[in-house]
């Protein structure tokens, strides 16, 4: 059978299609249809010829099969050194085979490749640091995901995710109206405690335009409020756009490059419309990757830069603490063992390790911060990166993957983990749920808010009068 009703080669373009796909609980029919989905070999080979050029072909050709990548891969280590988890094997037996066979692969091959692309690689890129030839298998797996997506072989949740971006310009069904309402609600809700608190929408020429993750307005509106309060506390002139506020990209996890462009164009349009001096993104790793690191290229910007300086939340926070815009009450500094999760997407892949450590130096009493063994650029993935967290059919593999981080955290002896990334935060929450090691985990925003000194003029009036 060629195309299924849900599982097919077409992206989800309308709200109706999206709702129908969502209605197929757990992707039951979707995955049944996938068993019958034809591979369009000609199209696959044509795409490879157009998009697989000297870098990737050389990587596949000169790989010396030395196996130095094996130990670099946390999925290899955590799966008891299963040879089928060696990065070189994983990529050679999937992407390498597609090229060798000039695209003439069958349905079973593609389903196996799908399992490899989404359950055996989180695109953390750590292997690239251990290959003498500098072969980056995370990059190749991301490329492979694009090929698989274009042929309809993509996990159900990610087909939905990229559809969300196409339909709502957000990874969840949060419309522009929903978003603006959430802003008003949060400003109002916290207005009593924080007189003068505002969430200015679509203010032109502000110093800062803030972008975030749709799950914040959808599931954790207090996160939006916390961001607002911290900007308020720091005295920043800031705004959020009514359109183009969603910074994340499940489309990137899905390999839906068309939707990636749609998503990032929306953010850049907002920046061009509102002309902020800087854009600041929320505490999310892949959102930063999608809108700051990869985004300029999807948007076709030849300089590889976003239209305005675009920084991660940890960069802004480090600056605010450094310059004293936000002051920490020394009595409230953390006085228990605490460790830090480095998110691959902005640490290994964007060099921001120093900013999180600078923040730590302001908020943790000296002597209480414990680094995980192998950290910064050499950190391990949380276990849920690259979309792994959200894929039901690979939940078992994901839960095994979490053991790396579990053991790293246990080795620090810390009971508190700072995780300034949505994906890492989720993975650490899930590992506590799964393995019950008795830890707490947190974003930076609530932590800072709980220890910041509030200047008198920002406190509620009644308190002053009393």
């Amino acid at each position: 059978m060629p195309e299924g009703q849900f599982c097919n080669k077409k992206p989800v373009e309308t709200e109706e299609e999206l709702k129908a796909l969502l209605g197929d609980k757990g992707g039951k029919q979707y995955y049944e249809e996938m068993l019958q989905l034809d591979v369009d070999s000609d199209k696959l080979w044509e795409t490879v010829q157009k998009t697989c050029k000297s870098r990737t072909r050389t990587w596949l050709e000169i790989c010396a099969h030395c196996g130095m990548c094996a130990d670099s891969c946390f999925l290899y280590r955590v799966n008891e050194a299963d040879p089928e988890q060696v990065p070189a094997f994983k990529i050679q037996s999937t992407l390498g085979e597609i090229i060798k066979r000039k695209g003439k692969v069958d349905n079973a091959f593609m389903r196996r490749a799908m399992e490899f692309a989404w359950a055996r690689c989180t695109c953390c890129n750590r292997c690239s640091q251990f290959c003498p030839h500098g072969i980056d298998m995370g990059v190749m797996f991301s490329y492979l995901r694009g090929l698989l997506y274009s042929q309809g072989f993509v996990p159900w949740e990610l087909k939905i995710g990229s559809g969300m971006h196409r339909v709502y310009q957000a990874q969840m069904d949060v419309t522009s109206e929903d978003w603006v309402e959430t802003c008003e609600w949060m400003a109002e809700e916290n207005g009593e405690e924080w007189p003068g608190l505002e969430i200015p929408v679509d203010k032109e020429d502000a110093d800062i335009m803030y972008t975030l993750n749709a799950r914040e307005p959808k599931h954790y509106p207090e996160d939006v409020a916390e961001a607002a309060i911290l900007f308020h506390l720091a005295g920043e002139n800031w705004t959020v756009p009514s359109k183009g506020w969603e910074q994340t990209s499940l489309a990137m996890f899905a390999g839906d490059w068309g939707a990636c462009k749609i998503a990032v164009d929306a953010v850049y349009d907002a920046a061009e419309r509102l002309r902020p001096k800087r854009i600041i993104g929320t505490e999310c790793g892949h959102a930063h990757r999608a809108s700051v690191i990869e985004g300029p290229y999807w948007a076709g910007r030849p300089d590889g830069r976003p239209p305005a300086e675009y920084i991660h939340y940890v960069q802004w926070l480090a600056e605010a603490l450094r310059e004293g815009k936000i002051k920490i009450d020394p009595a409230k500094r953390i006085k228990e063992k605490v460790t830090l999760q480095d998110a691959c997407n902005y640490v290994r892949n964007h060099g921001l390790a120093k900013y999180t450590r600078e923040i730590i130096s302001y908020i943790v009493e000296p002597g209480y911060f414990v680094e995980m063994a192998t950290n910064r650029e050499y950190n391990y993935c949380c276990g849920g990166g690259g979309g792994f967290n959200g894929i039901g059919m690979f939940r078992k593999q994901r839960n095994v993957a979490l053991r790396t981080k579990r053991d790293q955290i246990l080795a620090t002896g810390a009971k508190l983990v700072i995780a300034p990334c949505h994906n890492c935060w989720d993975a650490i929450r899930d590992l506590e749920e799964e393995y019950e090691i008795g830890i707490r985990w947190t974003f930076l925003k609530p932590l800072i808010l709980s220890m910041a000194i509030v200047p008198d003029h920002l406190k509620p009036q009644e308190e002053d009068e009393e």
């Binding site: 998009t51 050029k53 000297s54 870098r55 072909r57 050389t58 990587w59 050709e61 000169i62 790989c63 010396a64 099969h65 030395c66 196996g67 130095m68 094996a70 130990d71 670099s72 290899y76 050194a81 040879p83 089928e84 060696v86 070189a88 094997f89 050679q92 690239s128 640091q129 251990f130 290959c131 003498p132 030839h133 500098g134 072969i135 980056d136 690191i293 990869e294 300029p296 290229y297 999807w298 076709g300 030849p302 300089d303 590889g304 830069r305 960069q315 290994r348 892949n349 964007h350 060099g351 921001l352 390790a353 120093k354 900013y355 910064r376 650029e377 050499y378």
Partner: protein, 229 residues
């Protein structure tokens, strides 16, 4: 026999070198012409200075034994690797015997290594090949990615060294071993551009690219061009 030897050290030698150098140069040029800032998502041109720094640093660090976290993570392989590569690079270029043939054909020669050192390097190369092959068989994580082709490449590298060392002993059958040495050596030169041995040149290209990638796009502006390899 004498004329065959003359052919091998004359025209065949020149042709082998030509294929080797022209072939590898073409591969390098094609590699760089094939780079595409849109596909790789790396803005090479506007950031060339930063990219160059990162690229050269990435090449340099990985040329140093134990110079990177990767090399330090695998000490046994690293030692075998450098044993193989020191000899494989230095002996063909700087052996006095090779320089004599070079002088005869081209009228110039390179500086020569002391014979004893060259012998040692050649022996280490063979030992390196042996342990790398043994490692392929012994370790499951290497065995699974190993193919016949990998052993062919190892043999292609080892044969000129083994035959050369035997000839060097001046045992009986010197002429035979010398001819075997020249044939296998020239075979290696001729096949290099068309096999995995193309990494002789493409190593520099691939390492440059990943170094430039990290320097330009993946954090170079905040961590500096030099990635902590």
């Amino acid at each position: 026999m004498a004329s065959f030897y003359a052919f091998l050290t004359g025209p065949a030698f020149v042709i082998s070198l030509l294929v080797f150098f022209v072939g590898l140069s073409v591969r390098l040029v094609r590699y760089f012409l094939g780079l595409d800032w849109r596909l790789e998502r790396v803005a090479y041109r506007p950031n060339m200075e930063q990219g160059m720094k990162g690229g050269l640093w990435s090449i340099y660090k990985w040329l140093l034994p134990f110079g990177t976290a990767g090399w330090r993570a695998q000490p046994f392989f690293t030692i075998c690797f450098f044993m193989l590569h020191f000899g494989a690079v230095l002996v063909p270029l700087f052996l006095i015997g090779h320089n004599v043939v070079l002088e005869e054909n081209f009228g110039f020669s390179l500086p020569s290594l002391p014979q004893g050192l060259a012998d040692l390097l050649a022996v280490l190369t063979v030992i390196g090949v042996f342990f790398i092959a043994a490692r392929r068989i012994a370790l499951p994580e290497v065995r699974i990615i190993t193919t016949g082709y990998d052993y062919f490449i190892l043999a292609l590298v080892a044969l000129p060294f083994i035959t050369g060392l035997i000839a060097r002993m001046h045992w009986a059958g010197y002429d035979f071993w010398m001819i075997c040495h020249i044939i296998t050596g020239e075979l290696m030169l001729i096949l290099a551009p068309f096999t995995k041995l193309s990494h002789i040149a493409l190593y520099f290209a691939s390492r440059w690219q990943i170094g430039a990638d990290f320097a330009i796009k993946r954090g170079g502006h905040s961590r500096g061009a030099c990635f902590p390899w």
